[in-house]
Symmetry: C2
Subunit: 393 residues, 2 copies
């Protein structure tokens, strides 16, 4: 066979979402893009903050020796220092540049973390519903996934997580604000998780790592803030991306932040740096490293997303849909009016609405709406949503 | 244990080069950077062409919707089209955008290729001396490395390669112009390799892939050109990077070019795109994709490197060193005056000269000089080189 067996099977598994994507392209060709309501992709549509544009223009013209040359594998120390400083200020922890490894977005960060941590057969707990890429990221390195269900409000179910832990458990990955649910775990909920992981760590005499995937950390509404896992639990690692904070997912820039108190910190940091190198990332893109160092306190206007959320939630509630109102990210995970979410998404497709079945996220009976779209798309889609709900009743 | 066993052992293996690197930093602190002759790293010191700077400044200011948003996993079609067009023009092959997958440099490209191709136990032939990262890139995906020695002039030894091929052989990786030797394989030599691979492919009834790592393809001297492997052999894949052509290794931009006639082309291309996604690259950096689309016929002035090569070769020959004069890249692989290259590199270190032992490249008895440095570094290092040779006699 030409390609690796594992990859061959992954391609055929991926084909459902791809088919949806391709049908969307056909629909847009047929009816015009403005007549198709595409809620399928989490590609931020809010423009970059003015500060980003200004810094990019400035930096493009600046004369700096080897401006586009290799950086250290961990990234520029100035950039890592700026990030460590910000985390120290906001959490009160003593982070230094040494605890930061720059990455190609959160996707790159998570792959580097799993590569550094996992021996084949090591188990990683994934909470349902989950970001579709996690299973790939874990299985890339021979990790075994143990699923645990979240509660009906999508908060952490500590008892379910407790049941999933055993002596082979190496880590748990959480994502708050969550894709696909928009859930932000409360400080209390995170504290309960930390207590459980400490308890289990003692019982099995090992460190159980808490990997927190936080690309949406700044995309929060109603005055909510995302509690710091670094403060809550020593064996914690954060994967961060500027993709959403600065609306630049295409530029592949993020970081790994390692808790200064983590078990075998030096070894782990060396491993993360080595993995960044040998996986072919080599290091995060140089120009973007320089820019984000200057933009630690800048973010897109989250009120724009909040308004979209409110518009969407009000419209869907009126159309008779059931959902938990999210406090972050730009996703809504809606209860499908019929149990078969794949079938319901096909009904939506007949109304020129593109959504993703919850089954793809390990959440059957739901569908995901990515509302990082024009307000008009939200408003104009409501007729179709109402009809689809009615017809499936 | 905290980190993966495999990574733990890789860290300790990597420590020799790191020690050298750290000693270099100490030396520079002690004597001043201008008194230390650092030939250890292949970080291009020739500035980006003016066209790059102009396009970057222009593009930074341009208003393009979702300019920094996600691109397709394979990359922008305009960029892939531009690259396919250039390859078609220079080779006469019919390449289309579909045959190009954008990558995070050649390092990213090679990891994606190996991930897509290799089942655990599949063998990959690596030619000695080799780029230090190849063993990592192959073992990342459970591949098994089979080494074959090149000839004393560093050309392909077809008989040695033939001996290394068996029914488990999935691919061979070549690198021309070569790191660490600067060798450019001749058209005849490539044709001989293609003939062998076809013969062996028929004998084992399978495709043996020729992976050609070509980041230095434009860095060639004396009117030499790099023969196209795509033209020479159908089952060929090129990994390319703009790191050296445009002097921007920090920006992580390159591509994979798949031969249109390759075995199971569609499957392979789907696999490369999927692997780009699930390994966390997601896609190559967006801004750089746009820029290189506009710079397909631009390259740094290679005469600058050629002059450095001539300066270095003349100086070292006068100091009594033996080497094969390279026709490309910016490396010189010099015969160590004593058999123990690690020991000789330590002698050079006493002269404040940083070089890398050939042992690290699978070429014991040699040392590597990366001459992408100021001319003054080359000139001023000659006294130390001469003394080191004399003292070790």
């Amino acid at each position: 066979m030409t390609i690796a067996k594992k990859i061959k099977s992954s391609i055929s598994q991926s084909s459902m979402i791809r088919k949806m994507f391709e049908e969307g392209i056909l629909l847009k060709k047929k009816y015009g893009a403005d007549k198709v309501y595409d809620f399928s992709l989490g590609n931020p549509n809010v423009e970059q903050p003015g500060e980003f544009k200004r810094e990019l223009i400035k930096l493009a013209a600046e004369i700096i020796p080897l401006k586009h040359g290799y950086t250290p594998n961990a990234g520029y120390s100035e950039t890592r220092q700026a990030i460590a400083g910000k985390i120290s200020r906001t959490t009160g922890l003593k982070m230094s540049a040494d605890h930061i490894v720059m990455s190609c977005g959160a996707g790159g960060a998570l792959n580097v973390i799993f590569k550094a941590l996992l021996d084949p057969g090591d188990e990683v707990i994934v909470l349902k519903p989950f970001f579709v890429e996690y299973p790939f990221y874990i299985e890339n390195y021979g990790g075994v996934i143990k699923y645990a269900q979240t509660k009906t409000d999508f908060s952490l179910d500590i008892a379910a997580i407790s049941k999933a832990i055993n002596r082979r458990t190496k880590a748990i990955i959480i994502n708050s604000p969550n894709n696909p649910t928009g859930k932000v775990y409360s400080k209390k909920n995170i504290a309960e998780l930390a207590r459980l992981l400490k308890e289990k760590g003692r019982a099995y005499n090992k460190a159980i790592y808490l990997i927190s995937d936080e690309p949406y950390a700044e995309i929060v509404f109603d005055g909510v803030t995302v509690p710091s896992v670094l403060k809550a639990y020593p064996n914690s690692i954060v994967a961060y991306s500027y993709s959403k904070t600065l609306s630049l997912p295409g530029e592949r820039i993020g970081y790994i932040a390692v808790n200064p108190k983590i078990h075998e910190a030096d070894n782990l940091i060396s491993a993360l740096i080595l993995c960044t190198r040998i996986m072919g990332f080599v290091h995060a893109p140089a120009l973007m490293q320089r820019i984000i160092a200057r933009l630690q306190d800048v973010a897109v206007d989250v009120k724009v997303y909040q308004k979209k959320r409110d518009l969407l939630c009000a419209g869907l509630a009126k159309a008779g849909y059931k959902f938990v109102k999210p406090q972050g990210a730009f996703y809504l995970f809606v209860k499908s009016p019929i149990p078969d979410d794949v079938k319901f998404v096909k009904i939506l497709l007949q109304k020129n609405i593109l959504a993703v079945p919850g089954s793809g996220f390990g959440g059957p009976g739901y569908f995901r709406i990515a509302y990082c779209v024009d307000d008009a798309t939200i408003v104009n889609s409501m007729k179709g949503f109402a009809e689809a709900n009615k017809e499936s009743a």
